[in-house]
C-alpha cells in the first residue's frame, strides 16, 4: 500500500521530466506555437493601453485640443476588436492543446495498460491506476496548456512594460524595477506554501472519502458489531484534522493577494511621490505620471501568474512522475508475433506441455520448481489439492497470464512465447472463482464471450449452462441490468453467467477455476452435466475443492506444494489408496460421520 500513497513533496525541479512531457506534447506543437504568438499579442495590448491614456492626457486634455479624439476612439475600438480576436484564440487554442494532450496521454497509457501482465495488476490497486489516467493526466494537460499562456504572457508583459517605462522615464522605471523582486519573492513563497497546504487538504479529503465509503460498504457489519459510536469518533478525528488544515490553507491564500497588493500600493505611492515631484518640476507630463501609476498597479499580475505557474509545476511534477512511471513500464510478457489471418484460422486443439517450468511470484518463494506436465489435445484434467499449492498459478501459467521464470511451455510443438498471445487468449475460456461481470445487461455480459453472437445464440448458451431458468425469473430477463461489477446478482448467479459467456466463446481450451463453488447443489448437478457436455471435444482444466465434482475427468492431478504427488483417473487413484484416496475418503467419511452423528442425535 505504502508505495501507492501520494508521493511526498519533491522540491527539486526535474527538467528531464518536463522535457519528456513537452515531447509528449509534440503532436500539439503547431497549436502551441500559435498560442505563444497570440499571448505575445495579448501582452502587447495590455502594455499599450496605458500609453493610449497617456496620449489622451498629454496631447489632448492638457493642451485642450479636440482634434484627434475621433482617431483615438477609433484606435481604441481597433484595440478592442483585436483583443476580442486574441482572447478568443487564446482560450480556444489553449483548450485544444489541453484536451488534445489529455486525450493522447490517456490513449497511450491505456494501451500500455492493456499490454501489462497480471503481475502488474496484482501489485497495483485499480484506484491508483484510475487516478493516474483521470486526475493526474488532466492536471498535466492543464499545466502545459495554461502554463504556456501564463508564462508567455507574463514574460512578454514584463518585457514590454519595462521597455515602455524605461523609454518614458528611467528614474520612475527604477521604482518599478525595485518592486519586481519583492513581489516575485512573496509570490513564489506564498504559492509554494499554499500548494503544500492544499496538498494536505486533498490528502485528508481522500481519507474522508474512503472513510465514508467504508461506512456505507460496511454498513451491515458496522450495525451487527454495534460499531456506530466508535466509527463516528474516528471519523470526527479525521474531520477535525481536515478542518484545521483547510483553514490553514485558506488563511495562507487569503493573505496572499492582500499582501501583494500592499506591496504594489507601495509602488503606486512611490510613483505618485517621485512622479508628482517630476510633474511639479516640469520634467514629465501628467499623462506619463498616470501611465506610471497604471503600470505600477498592474505589475503584480504577470509576476504572480508566473509564480503560480512554477508552484503548479512543482505540484504537477508528482503527477507527471506518476504518469511517466506508468508510461515507462516494461510489460513482462511481450507479444513478439503479430496476430494475423494465418493465426486466426489456426485451431488450438493441440497438446500442451510444461517442461521444467519454474515460477515464483516473489523471489525466493518458488511456487513451481522444474515442473513437468503433458496435456493431450481434448483431454480433461482436474487439479486438486489444498489452498496455496499452486492450482490457480498453474492455470495462470498455461493461459500465459504469467510466463515461467525458467523452462518452457509448449502448445503443439511450439514454445508458447513464440506464438501470438492474442491467439492463445482467443482460444481459451476461463471461468474464475469470483467471476467479474461488467455493468450492463445479462445479455451484454454473456455476449462478451463472442461479440458477434445473436440474441438467440446468447440464450442458447445460457440454456446449456442452466442459467436460463434464473434469468427468466429476473425482472427484465436478459435485459436485467446486473449493476456495478454484477453486484445485483448472487455469486452463484454470476458464476452461471460467466459460464454461459465461456460456452458462447466456444474455446479450444476450457478452464474452470472453482467455477461452481457458490451454486446450490441441485443447480450444480445440472451444471456439472453441462460441463461434461461442453468439455467434449475440448481440452479442459478444472480446479476444484469438491472431489465429487471431478470424477468424470480423464485425469486427476493431486498437487502438493508445487508438485504433482499423484495422477490418474478417479478409479485408478482410488485403487492406488494413496493421498487422493485418503483425501477423498476424508471428504466422504465426513459425510458418513455426519450421518452417524445425526443418527445419535
Amino acid at each position: 500500500m505504502n508505495t501507492y500513497q501520494e508521493s511526498e513533496y519533491n522540491s527539486r525541479f526535474n527538467w528531464r521530466l518536463w522535457w519528456s512531457l513537452l515531447k509528449q506534447a509534440m503532436p500539439q506543437r503547431g497549436k502551441i506555437i500559435a498560442l505563444s504568438i497570440v499571448m505575445v499579442f495579448n501582452a502587447l495590448v495590455d502594455a499599450i493601453i496605458p500609453l493610449l491614456t497617456r496620449y489622451g492626457i498629454d496631447h489632448m486634455i492638457i493642451p485642450k485640443r479636440y482634434d484627434g479624439i475621433v482617431g483615438l476612439g477609433l484606435i481604441y475600438l481597433g484595440v478592442i476588436l483585436f483583443q476580442f480576436v486574441m482572447v478568443y484564440l487564446l482560450i480556444d487554442l489553449a483548450g485544444r492543446v489541453e484536451t488534445g494532450m489529455n486525450f493522447d496521454l490517456r490513449r497511450v497509457c491505456y494501451r500500455k495498460l492493456q499490454s501489462m501482465s497480471f503481475s502488474y495488476y496484482d501489485r497495483t490497486p485499480t484506484g491508483w491506476i484510475v487516478a493516474r489516467l483521470g486526475s493526474d493526466i488532466s492536471r498535466l494537460g492543464d499545466v502545459v496548456a495554461w502554463g504556456i499562456v501564463d508564462l508567455v504572457w507574463g514574460i512578454a508583459v514584463l518585457i514590454f512594460t519595462l521597455g515602455v517605462v524605461f523609454t518614458l522615464s528611467w528614474k520612475l522605471a527604477l521604482i518599478i524595477v525595485c518592486l519586481l523582486p519583492v513581489i516575485a519573492f512573496i509570490s513564489i513563497k506564498f504559492q509554494m506554501k499554499m500548494l503544500k497546504s492544499y496538498r494536505l487538504v486533498r490528502k485528508f479529503n481522500s481519507m474522508i472519502t474512503s472513510s465514508i465509503g467504508e461506512g456505507i460498504h460496511g454498513a451491515k457489519t458496522t450495525k451487527t458489531l454495534v460499531r456506530e459510536e466508535a466509527n463516528l469518533t474516528e471519523f470526527q478525528e479525521l474531520n477535525r484534522n481536515m478542518y484545521r488544515h483547510s483553514v490553514k490553507a485558506a488563511t495562507a491564500s487569503a493573505l496572499f493577494m492582500p499582501l501583494v497588493l500592499m506591496v504594489s500600493s507601495l509602488g503606486t505611492g512611490l510613483v505618485v511621490w517621485r512622479g508628482g515631484s517630476a510633474v511639479l518640476a516640469g520634467a514629465i507630463g501628467f499623462g506619463t505620471l498616470v501611465a506610471f501609476i497604471n503600470y505600477a498597479m498592474q505589475l503584480f499580475e504577470p509576476i504572480s501568474n508566473v509564480a503560480r505557474l512554477f508552484a503548479e509545476m512543482q505540484s504537477a511534477q508528482a503527477a507527471a512522475e506518476r504518469v511517466f512511471s506508468l508510461l515507462e513500464l516494461q510489460p513482462e510478457i511481450v507479444d513478439s508475433i503479430s496476430f494475423d489471418e494465418k493465426w486466426k484460422a489456426r485451431s488450438m486443439h493441440l497438446p500442451i506441455s510444461l517442461r521444467d517450468v519454474s515460477f515464483a511470484y516473489k523471489e525466493g518463494k518458488p511456487v513451481f520448481d522444474h515442473f513437468n506436465l503433458e496435456i493431450a489435445a481434448g483431454e480433461s484434467i482436474a487439479l486438486v489439492g489444498e489452498t496455496g499449492t499452486g492450482k490457480t498459478t498453474l492455470v495462470n501459467l498455461i493461459c500465459r497470464f504469467y510466463e515461467p521464470v525458467s523452462g518452457s511451455i509448449l502448445i503443439g510443438d511450439r514454445d508458447y512465447t513464440q506464438v501470438p498471445l492474442h491467439w492463445i487468449h482467443s482460444n481459451i475460456g476461463y471461468v474464475q472463482q469470483v467471476p467479474h461481470l461488467f455493468q450492463g445487461s445479462v445479455l451484454e455480459n454473456i455476449r462478451y464471450g463472442r461479440l458477434d453472437a445473436t440474441d438467440d445464440e446468447v440464450k442458447e448458451a445460457a440454456r446449456i449452462v442452466r442459467a436460463d431458468e434464473f434469468i427468466q425469473n429476473l425482472p427484465e430477463n436478459y435485459d436485467y441490468k446486473v449493476g456495478e461489477a454484477g453486484n445485483l446478482l448472487s455469486t452463484g448467479q454470476k458464476q452461471l453467467i460467466a459460464f454461459a459467456r465461456v460456452v458462447l466463446a466456444d474455446p479450444a481450451l476450457l478452464i474452470l477455476d472453482e467455477a461452481t463453488a457458490s451454486i446450490d447443489t441441485e443447480t450444480e448437478q445440472l451444471v456439472q452435466e453441462a460441463i461434461h457436455r461442453v468439455l467434449a471435444g475440448r481440452t479442459g482444466i478444472i480446479v476444484a475443492h469438491r472431489l465429487s465434482t471431478i470424477r468424470q475427468v480423464d485425469r486427476i492431478l493431486l498437487l502438493h506444494k508445487g508438485e504433482i504427488i499423484e495422477t490418474g483417473s478417479h478409479p485408478e487413484l482410488m485403487r492406488r489408496k494413496g493421498r487422493y484416496h485418503q483425501l477423498y475418503m476424508n471428504q466422504f467419511m465426513q459425510e458418513a460421520a455426519e450421518t452417524e452423528l445425526l443418527k445419535e442425535a
Binding site: G73, Y76, I91, R111, V226, A485, E591
Partner: protein, 599 residues
Amino acid sequence: MSSFRFILTYMKRLKLKYLLAILCIIIAACFSFTTPLIIRFTVDNVLGKKPIDLPLGIDGSFLGDGFVSFVRANLWLAALAIVLISVIAHSFTFLRGKISAQVSEELARRLRTALYDHIQRLPYAWHSKVQTGDIIQRCTSDVDTIRRFVGLQLVQLGRGIFMSLLIIPIMLSMNVRMTLISTVVVPIIFVYAYVFFRQVRKRFQAADEAEGYMTTVLEESLNGIRVVRAFAREDFEVNRFESAADDYRAKCRKLITILAYYWASSDALCLLQIASVFIFGIGWTIRGNLSLGTLLAFSTYIGMLLWPIREMGRILTDLGRASVSIGRLREILDTPTEEMQGSHCILPGTRLKGRIEFRKLSFAYDPANPILKGVDLNIAAGETIAILGATGSGKSTLVNLIPRLFDNYSGKILIDGIELEAYNRQELRRQIGIVLQEPFLYSRSIADNIGIAVPGIERERIEEVARESALYESVSEFEQGFDTVIGERGITLSGGQRQRTAISRALAHDPAILILDDALSAVDSETEQEIQRNLLRRKGRATTIIITHRLTGVSVADRIVVLEHGRIAQMGSHSELIEQPGVYRRIWNIQHQLELEAI
C-alpha cells in the same frame, strides 16, 4: 427559503462571526475607494492647483490652502496615505478571507459529521438500495459546494453589492453625466454573464457526465482485466475506452469554444466600457466639465466595479447549484433513522439465552415479490440449526431479520420469549455474531478486525479465536502476522482468509446467537472440516444458525431446515429427513450417492 433555514440550523454560534466577515467587507471596500480619491486630490489640487472639492458633498474647505501647499512641498505624504490606506483595506480583506474560511470550513465539518452519523443510523434497507458513489459524492462534493457558497460566493456577492452601493453615490456626487457613461455597459455585462452561465450549465454537466462515463469504463476494464484477457478482448476494450475518452474530449472542446466566445466578448464589453469612460472623459475634461483627477478616479472606479459585477453574474447562476446540493443532503438527513430504543432492556453483562421463535413470519423487500411466506420455526437455546435451500429461497433474509436489520415483517419473532421489536437494536446486536459470505473487513490490522467489537480485548483471546476459525496458521505466515493491515478492498487476503477472519471476529465477542451465512463457501474442504470440528466443540455455547449449500455444512447441526420459495419445506434431523421424499433426500442423493458409486 427552506434551504436557507437548513443552513442556519448548522450555523449555531457562527452567525456572529459571519456578520463580522461582512463588516470586514464593508470596511475594506470603504478604504479601497479612498485611494483613487487621494490620487484625484494629488493630481487636481496638489499638482493641478485647483480648489478642493470632495465627493459626497463633503465640504473640503476645512483642509485649507495651507494644507494643500504643505502636501505639495511634502509629496511623500500622499504616497504614505496611499500605502497606509492600502495596508488597512487589505488587512480587512485578509481578515474577511480568514473569518469566512473559518466559518465555512466549520459549517462543512458539521455537515460531514451530521451526515456520517446519520448514515450510520439509517436502516440497513437504505444502505442496500443506495449507490455508494452517489452517497460519497453527496458527503464530499455537495458539502463542498455548500462550503464554497457560504465561504466564497456569498461573500463575493456581498462584496459586489457593497461595492456598487458605495461607488455609485461617490461617482454621482463627483459627476452625474460621467456616472451615467461609466455604468451604461455594466448591467449588460452582468446580465450577459448571468444568462450565459445559465445557458452553458448543461454543457458543463455534459462534460462532467462524459468524464464520469470514461472513468467507469476505465474502472470496469481494470477490475475485469482477467476477463478481458481471457477473452482476448483488448482491442474491444481499447476502442471502448478511446471512444469514451474521445467523447469527453469533444464535450470539453465544445465547452471551451463557447467559453472562448464568452470571455472574448465579455472582455470586449468591459474594454468598451473603459474606452467610453476614457473618450467621453477626455472630451468633457477638455470642455472643462471634468477635472483630470476626477477622470482618473472614474477610470479606477470602473475597474473596481466591472470585474466583481461580472463575477456576480456567474455566481448567481451557481446559487441554484448550492440549493440543489442542500436538497441532496436533506434527502439523506430527512430519511428517518432506525428506532434504537426498545421497552425491554438487556442489562450490561447479561447474556441472552438465545431461544428464537418465528411465528407466521412473512417478509418482502418489495410487496410484489414476497421472500418469506409464513415461516414457523422454534430454535431452542444453544441449538445448532442448519438452513438449506436454493438461491433466493429466503435463507439470508430470514437470518437478517434476527439482528433487526430489516423491519416491516408480518408475523412474530420472539427471542427468549420477548418480541423482537421490544429490544433495543444495539443491545440486541451485541448478543449476535453474524458472518457473511462476502464479509466486510475494515482497512486496519487483522488483530483490530478480529477484536473490533470487543473493547480492550487481549492478544491471547484474538489468537484463540483465530485458532478456532483455522485462521491462526495462515496469519502467522504473514510477515507482520496479526498486525498485517488489510489493504484496499482486502486485497491481501484471499476469500477464504477473509471469511475466516470474519468468523474469528464473530467468535471474539462470544455471542449468544451465532449466524454463519454461507460463511465457509471460499474455504477449502479440509479447513472447512477443521472449523466444523471446532464449532462442534463449542456446541451449545451459542444458538447457532448455519446457512449452507453443502451437506458437509449440516454435519454439526442438531436440526436441518430446508427452505423453498420462502416456506419451510422440510424440517428435522438428518435421519428423519433422509427417510422423507423431498428436496433434502434429493440433495443427499446427488452429493452422497454419487460418491458411493464412484468408489
